[in-house]
Symmetry: C2
Subunit: 290 residues, 2 copies
């Protein structure tokens, strides 16, 4: 079993602020106490501009804010962050930059025309993909199996309380940073924020997620510059299309020895016989966050 010590950041299922015990009644009519994950609003500001209210489990608000802004193209890679202020009571996090960002200009422009900036968010993400090509990095299939096994046996809020998604930044066969959140995309954004604030290179990394490989997940991974995305869950057609356009290796439906690669299969290095991989046991297998 992978110990949390081997990670740079691992889930802390014992953290009191992240879960709560709630009493209920089970199917036999008996009283039961179950552990459920917390969910809190967090309002993210970029300088004086309110950007979004995210529903989050509440850990690493600074990483979430910076990663969200970066993945939306509101913070460029070279942007100088002069401060991040988190107010737990107000549930607000403010990211400050040395100068006004292009996002603030865009919001002003958009406001003058249609009165609301919601529609720009996704458009800005797509814009960031133009001309992007990820490096064609080889991926050993043994890494995929080792990562899946290690991640699935790491103590986590998921195993403790369920109803949560996990995303893990990996290098070769080593998981490095494991984030969980009630929102699938928050977990990815927290990793993006950690990478940006620590100046961590992306081109030698693999991103593993419990969630589906939707367009948004594929776009975020590509914008982060990570060339490989793996998941135990399935694909959407548009997610696959974008992955192929930008050269993102995309592996899904990873369960036991099985997986399907719908983009970048030519980069896979089959260095292990799949028949030597045990089927996922009912006990260690993660169930669905859904």
């Amino acid at each position: 079993m992978q110990l949390p010590d081997d990670y740079i950041i691992a889930p802390d299922p014992t953290a009191p602020r992240l879960t709560r015990t709630v009493s209920g009644i089970d199917h036999t009519g008996a009283r039961t106490d179950i552990s459920v994950v917390e969910e809190r609003p967090l309002t993210i500001y970029l300088n004086a501009q309110e950007v979004v209210t995210a529903m989050t489990i509440g850990d690493y608000p600074e990483f979430l804010a910076v990663g969200f802004l970066r993945n939306q193209g509101m913070l460029a890679d070279g942007e100088e962050i002069t401060g991040i202020d988190y107010d737990e009571e107000l549930e607000v996090v403010v990211v400050r930059t040395a100068s006004q960002t292009t996002y603030e200009e865009k919001v002003k422009k958009k406001t003058r025309t249609s009165g609301c900036a919601v529609g720009t968010v996704f458009g800005d993400m797509m814009e960031g993909l133009v001309g992007l090509t990820l490096p064609a990095v080889p991926v050993k299939t043994s890494w995929l199996y080792t990562l899946a096994h290690q991640i699935n046996t790491t103590p986590s809020l998921y195993l403790e309380a369920g109803a949560i998604h996990g995303t893990v930044l990996c290098q070769g066969d080593k998981p490095l940073v494991y984030m969980e959140d009630v929102g699938r995309h928050n977990a990815v954004d927290k990793i993006a924020g950690w990478m940006m604030l620590n100046g961590v290179p992306a081109e030698d990394k693999i991103l593993y997620t419990t969630g589906r490989l939707t367009s948004e997940m594929v776009i975020k991974t590509a914008l982060m510059g990570i060339p490989v995305l793996a998941s135990r869950s399935g694909f959407t057609a548009w997610g696959v299309e974008i992955a192929r356009q930008v050269g993102l290796t995309c592996i899904g439906r990873m369960r036991g020895k099985r997986f399907v690669c719908l983009s970048g299969a030519e980069r896979l290095d089959w260095d292990v016989d799949p028949d030597s991989i045990p089927e996922e046991s009912k006990r260690s297998g993660r169930k669905a966050a859904e």
Copy 2:
């Protein structure tokens, strides 16, 4: 097995527009063709006001638009809808009302102050809950078991292609309207839109979802006036808190004979011995959309 004919609306896993066959490589290195769900942007307008771009599988855009606007409190129940125009090529749907809605006024006001209306969306949903109390409707546990079994054996896009969420409007032990979508909340919004446009009463209904019982799911169900929410997935703490405040009966973790009720358990009528319910078989059991 429940036949689709028994539903008013059931999934149509054979609809050519909703899935696509994509070629890839499996874990043995062999070519494999798999069916994946489509995912399309849909931009929703309320009169001349652009509101949001949702990622959706693309069926029932009119129901999705009306249900989204209603669940966000942007369309009141008595609001007169004078037209709904969907343009498939532009991926735009416009909902027209006889007079300007309060939402448009709010956006204008918000725009003048902070320049962006994103933050209002969740606040408006919470506002709609003030003073709301759902009717204390009894729920037979036999209904829950029958519904879960029928829904899990209904042919669906989920069973065909995976990576999708389902939500079903039910009455007693009968599923009526079964919507699926790549976005969990889209499936609920499509049901809300169908109910609003058909004048369907809510107080005798049960909402079943494959997704987690998060705050947003609980709030949407409460705003729709549906007094019972059931899921095969888990809870968040805030979701439970809101459910208790508004008197929403909340049943989660429904698998085989098991379930947990964390709100409204006093309304359950144990009319069947749980031991008479078979365990969920591996084959008929739905896996995770995640």
